[in-house]
Symmetry: C2
Subunit: 372 residues, 2 copies
């Protein structure tokens, strides 16, 4: 059975003070960024792109989003060398209106292309109140929240949508053809920390299933199904050809489908099973992904300081809530990641010895004099 | 335990062929619209507003969204007579940019104001690719999908956000302060039926809890909590001061909070517990709601026929999926409502005898010569 105060609140289930596994070591964020930057440069990225991607990957690790962090460096290097990722593409304008733009990513770097799209959406929002930018022929772009954080620095409300290789069937089916895709958005604040949501629309995530399967723990029914679409409480069966269920069943699927519509159908990107997986496709093939960014300038609706103060008021109202049993404190979407980032900037990022070794070897192979 | 193939798919749990309760009768949609129109006219709405609201309420009943249908007529009449709803307000422009507009609803009729906002968003999208319109000082606007359907007729992709009186605490709290608000969006198609999602971000809905409580049935853990925020399988305890949980726990709450941000914080509307409930507030007080509409013109990204054909392709891909056990056919978000509408236009809308009597009495009291 789903215990709402535990099973549905995984971010509270693993307190920040939990002991670090023995196979992890703490790595300084600055040194890690320098190594990744140098590796990407030597793999063939121009300096500005290497700096952007290194910053985005390390920030994901700082924020506790390891699945979109530096563990992606080895595959990025492979894709660049094989031609699946093509550095130096900034997004070629295909169509443009006063408030929208469509970019052909020309198989470039996902982070570079999404920042290019968001920057254009922001410029158009500054001029006209709201702006939207789509990209097709793109690749993996890491943590989608990165582009929201970028927009928040310019006092924008932002939404980012992306599609991806399919891990889930449409609701009621058993042929994998879409997400669960993330719902990613944010809004700026004044004194309080910004609101940021970046939530994959699945009940759980693969990392958590792998962790529980390793420990032979059961999962609640409703988290996932086996390869025959049968309900199961065995995380190993979900991982072995099954899939994680969307939040709210058909509701989460419907939101995922809308995200696929704007990021994939509207941009002209590949969709569904036509998308090439980052790992399970030949390295020379680009992924064919699509992204869609919306920026809204709050000053089109009220003075921006007033909007940010209203955001503060809403957040304080939430933080002053009476606590439900099992809750230690009220947490606003995005807050735990900001707290983790501060902690890890000061104390280092816990990375597995295996990954650290892999990065050191990759750096040495490429002739880098940087290390961690 | 949550059985994904039943509990999370309530739209499949009640097949269209289920026998109609004995206390329901079939009412012709045309006659119902004429009666509601006349009642609203006599209550004080101008003819164009009465026609719009009658159409919107009856369409909700046709689509099976009874909770936003003609059962709202008696309270609307009370609110108009007491001054809480003020007919004749079309939305006064407070701020305008090339692609955005903010309207003061001046406590007008929610349907009138949201159509005004969506029409402006569409006009701006036609001119500039994307448009957004916010409204504050608004009231109950019925089924949010109505405004998406309106935009689909003009080949727009549309998103509608609204806030409402709070039925749910922030995640981890027990002070009610927001949704679950609906996620509402749509996209046009060519041969297939349009994609429409209009899903409240709660695991279930009050109507279903009332139905199950009446039959002394248990609900799965994870659907709701009691007034002390304790997990329960008793629907009566959820209804008695408890609340329905958001889909995906903190994820569904985060999406609800973003909807509150654009519809409430950004528009300058009331938010959280400051909003006046439609029923539990003095009739003379306006609700103070906010709405936010976005329209995206697909032709800013590709020829609109190409976009609509790509939508058809995606829908056909989904419909050709292998079926999971327990699934009779693949259903696209919005499809069941279109099917129900066709059926009910042909055969009548099932309404309770109690509601039909109430509408007849209301019509007679107001001197209407219409009836159903």
């Amino acid at each position: 059975m789903v215990q709402p105060n535990v099973a549905e609140r995984p971010h509270l289930a693993a307190p920040a003070s939990s002991p670090r596994p023995a196979d992890e070591i703490l790595i300084d964020a600055g040194r890690l960024t320098a190594l990744v930057h140098d590796v990407l440069l030597r793999a063939g990225m121009p300096p500005d792109e290497a700096a952007l991607v290194a910053d985005a990957l390390v920030l994901a690790d700082l924020r506790g989003m390891q699945s979109h962090g530096v563990l992606r460096v080895p595959i990025y290097v492979e894709k660049i060398r094989a031609g699946g990722f093509r550095p130096g593409r900034k997004g070629r304008v295909i169509r443009e209106t006063a408030s929208t733009v469509l970019l052909d990513g020309e198989d470039g770097i996902g982070q570079v292309l999404t920042i290019a799209a968001m920057d254009r959406a922001i410029d158009k929002a500054k001029a006209n109140g709201i702006g939207a930018a789509g990209v097709f022929n793109s690749n993996h772009h890491g943590e989608a929240a990165y582009y929201v954080l970028h927009a928040l620095k310019r006092d924008m409300i932002a939404i980012v949508a992306t599609n991806g290789s399919p891990n889930m069937p449409a609701w009621g089916g058993k042929t994998k053809m879409t997400g669960p895709l993330p719902f990613t958005a944010g809004a700026p604040t004044n004194k309080e920390e910004p609101f940021v949501i970046d939530a994959a629309l699945g009940v759980t995530n693969r990392g958590k299933l792998i962790y529980m399967a390793d420990r032979r723990e059961k999962i609640p029914f409703g988290w996932g199904v086996d390869r025959n679409a049968q309900a199961t409480d065995d995380p190993a069966k979900v991982l072995d050809g099954g899939w994680i269920l969307p939040i709210g069943g058909h509701k989460g699927f419907g939101i995922t489908m809308f995200i696929e519509i704007v990021s994939g159908v509207l941009t002209g990107a590949l969709i569904g099973s036509a998308i090439r997986d980052l790992y399970n496709a030949p390295r020379e093939l680009p992924q064919g992904l699509g992204h869609f960014c919306i920026a809204i300038d709050p000053s089109a609706f009220m003075p921006v300081e007033q909007f940010k103060n209203r955001m503060d008021d809403m957040i304080r109202m939430i933080k002053s809530s009476d606590l439900a049993p099992g809750t230690e404190r009220m947490v606003i979407p995005g807050q735990l990641e900001f707290e983790k980032e501060r902690n890890r900037r000061a104390n280092g990022i816990p990375l597995s010895v295996k990954l650290v070794t892999q990065l050191r070897v990759l750096g040495a192979e490429l002739g880098s004099d940087r290390t961690v």
